[in-house]
Symmetry: C2
Subunit: 198 residues, 2 copies
Amino acid sequence: MTTSPRPAAPPLTERQEARRRRILHTAAQLASRGGFEAVQMREVADTAGVALGTLYRYFPSKVHLLVATMQDQLQLFQDQTRKHPAAGEDPGTRVAETLMRTFRGLQREPQLAEAMVRALTFADRSVSAEVDQVSRITGALILDAMGLDQPPTREQLAAVRVIEHTWHSALVTWLSGRASIAQVRIDLETACKLLTME
Amino acid sequence: MTTSPRPAAPPLTERQEARRRRILHTAAQLASRGGFEAVQMREVADTAGVALGTLYRYFPSKVHLLVATMQDQLQLFQDQTRKHPAAGEDPGTRVAETLMRTFRGLQREPQLAEAMVRALTFADRSVSAEVDQVSRITGALILDAMGLDQPPTREQLAAVRVIEHTWHSALVTWLSGRASIAQVRIDLETACKLLTME
DNA sequence: GGGTAATCTAGAACACGTTCCAGCGTGACA
DNA sequence: TGTCACGCTGGAACGTGTTCTAGATTACCC
């Protein structure tokens, strides 16, 4: 897969880093209130105290902005999960439990979740590097939860991919009101059976 | 789940049915050329020979229009699959084969596929009834491919859901250039293992 | 401290999805 | 045939994502 022409991000000054954080924080805040459509670029810029053009310099589109927000949030979940790993008999149980925890985390701010996930699935090729990064974090979350002694087998990696697909798609159906949390749990548990298969 | 207030679609006259088909055909044509963003409501209306307001009377948003297009296309695949069912040893193989065929069908018009899938995943709650319909067709496609003698078991239905999630999400990753066809095939085959599990 | 290139600001401008409106057909019913 | 209700038309108008420009500020190097 081709990597888009990304000139290896020049290091940001302190002020710039602060601006970036302000923007991300504002985006998350607006999203928490009204979801995807409440994140309006002009308002993000105003609230973050930055010109519209600057906002676009940091995040080339609304989708980029929200995907970056998702990276941020997932990172938090990952840190938290590493501090308190799920306890369970087998890898499948631990993974399902970990993902359900993450799910409940998202559930606490459903509008924010909606905004981030809409952005994630709406992303076109120009955002694929960033979306890939999100996918990588999710994969790491799952692998962590498996708590393996040895490196994962080919079959386990294949199973992780399917679990990731299921996680992602189940999230979407839940957000659009087409599946209950209970159903999501069942779907995740079903997918996780792949981990303990021969 | 609440069904949105849909006054049970009054029957369309012949002219109206023709308009609807013209609109859908135009949408598919524009999408085939340039994907999601090439489907511009003004252009659809002009090309289909209807006023913009009329277009919106038939399809309340661009997403509705493209989801309806997807329903249409899926229906075609389903008819075709029923005429030429996949031959394979076990249900899992047949399902994987059927889905890969559908995949290749979409691959033939990648821009159209992109437009439809972007719409599908971007859809919010106001489109959930239509999206659900797409999901139902996909489910039927899979169940058909299983070629069961008896009604499916609870486990099989759970597996079908995960396969559907995988199908859907794999499609998205392929469209955004983050997974190859070969990878999609592997993912589908992995998910289909759930069908032949004890 | 001075010069210079990069970055930031304010705001106008543009594109496209969506809404709205006034008036014209058209088909159903008396 | 008259009339009434409904759908359709053409087009203006609005909102929000995105782009662009001219000038102010900042960061960096000598």
